[in-house]
Symmetry: C2
Subunit: 313 residues, 2 copies
């Protein structure tokens, strides 16, 4: 019997899980904060892997889901904006040298798609778009039964397609991207601006509700909050129409905090999608659903990545 | 020895070529007009296949590249706007029943991408976007060494992504699609409007230059013609930036009549692309080139489709 060590590293926390062969239930898992005084994120990650390293089972490989731009072929993180010092970091090589087992690296959103496909909402489908809508917007693609990572692992940046030319500033520094008009951050910005300008709402003047608070208010009938989600859903649906024209998937999985608001975001998204597709054929056998794995999707994707390498070897 | 019969059917002409095994040079090929009095397009296609049917060689299969929405899995053309009567047409079954060999069907732009990948500009690459810019805009995708057709063969409709919300009417009936602002038709419309409104140009008032004529005038320094191509190139580059963010290809192949104008369209496209990518990493190893197969790409793609089925069986 062999074990597989899955790692999901983000700006806030590092998660490690040890999976036995042929089971989706980890033997052991733990999460720690990414940032701590006197230790780098890499040191903390190595420390947690050491702590959970199985004593009596051979480790097959380590799979790592990481944020930002990274190249799965070289195992190098080019930039990870949320983790200090992660620039051109050969993380796969560092971990391989330390533990002496094969190390596989993937982008967290791409691996979330892989995780949902193997273990979650995507089981049995071949053409899937996974879209995570939280503070930012990311994505992962399965096309014809293959994970689409692109030439250098930078595919699936669905938050950075043009949604409204000349529109609000995006986290990436460009204007009008989908993330700038439809993410949780975009919803919060829209609310703050409207509250500031005196639009009628349950929120007091000067307040800055986040997307979750706005969703709750929308569900209780607050007109401005409904408008904020309708606007985000409109842009999301128009972008999803483009994704359908490009990729013709049979399944769209929504993940991320904003998707937890359910129909508050998904109903206007679907209306907009129906308005913008060039043919109803794209919607005929299309399923739109939400993540099954939730926060575990990246970790499960790192595990699925190791299993896929196994199949190829 | 076996032979492979490739068919490329369009609104104007039907082309049939017979390929020997392991050669990209056809034994025989011929083209006829799609439309003729007293015969349907299907009858004309069958007639041409019969005429070229090899007498002393066994036929392995027939591969068909066709326009419009079609499902490669069922072999049914759902709609082909340019061919009268092609609605829910089970073309693969019709041809298979007539000739008693396996028949494979693919969208012409998707198969053009496959053709370029196997025999043309895409040889040796794994992640390719093929974009054809002529009267309309179409596309085909290779991701991770696999042709992306989508769940029902409708992937790669790159002309119908949103380029300018509220912009000019597209051939599909929606507004502001890439095809409506960057195709040859869009360039011609832009010229006609500007000439009508009295913009200075070498073209006389009331004239309606097509994209080819406009390209020649641009190359001779006509400011309005340069402006028309700069505008098309701007939109094309911005859309290509989105395609890079979604698919991270290593190669982009431009085909279609408008791409024959070379740098007249590609130089403004590249400037816009550089302005719109979120990271220079997307451009680092990116090659931008033009089709090698030209008009033969669909036919060669139909041949490549048959070869790919051979590999799988």
């Amino acid at each position: 019997m062999r074990a597989f060590i899955a790692v999901d590293i983000g700006g806030t926390q590092i998660r490690v899980a040890v999976f036995p062969e042929q089971s989706a239930i980890p033997i052991v898992q733990q999460r720690i904060r990414t940032v701590a005084e006197g230790q780098t994120a890499v040191e903390r990650m190595i420390g947690l892997i050491e702590k959970l390293w199985p004593k009596e089972t051979q480790v097959d490989s380590i799979g790592i889901a990481a944020p930002g731009f990274l190249d799965p072929k070289t195992g190098v993180v080019v930039t990870a904006p949320n983790i200090a010092g992660w620039v051109n970091l050969p993380i796969a090589e560092i971990i391989r040298k330390r533990f002496n087992v094969p190390v596989y690296l993937g982008n967290d959103a791409n691996l979330a798609a892989l995780g949902e496909w193997h273990f979650g909402a995507g089981r049995g489908y071949s053409d899937i778009i996974y879209i995570t809508v939280s503070t930012g917007i990311g994505g992962g693609l399965i096309a014809g039964g293959h994970l689409v990572e692109g030439a250098h692992g930078m595919a699936g940046e669905l938050g950075h397609v043009m949604a409204e030319p000349g529109g609000p500033l995006c986290g990436c520094g460009k204007r009008g991207h989908l993330e700038a008009v439809a993410s949780g951050t975009a919803i919060a910005h829209y609310m703050a601006d409207k509250i500031e300008s005196g639009a009628p709402t349950v929120f007091p003047k000067g307040s800055r509700p986040n997307a979750k608070e706005t969703a709750l208010a929308a569900q209780q009938g607050d007109a401005l909050s409904i408008e904020a989600f309708d606007r985000a859903g409109f842009y999301l649906g128009r972008a999803v129409a483009d994704f359908l024209h490009i990729l013709n998937p049979e399944l769209i999985i929504f993940g991320g905090g904003v998707s937890l608001s359910g129909d508050t975001i998904l109903a206007p998204m679907k209306r907009s999608l129906e308005d913008h597709v060039i043919s109803k054929e794209y919607l005929k056998d299309l399923t739109i659903t939400r993540t099954v794995l939730g926060d575990d999707s990246g970790l499960m994707g790192a595990y699925a990545l190791m299993l896929s390498k196994l199949e190829k070897s």
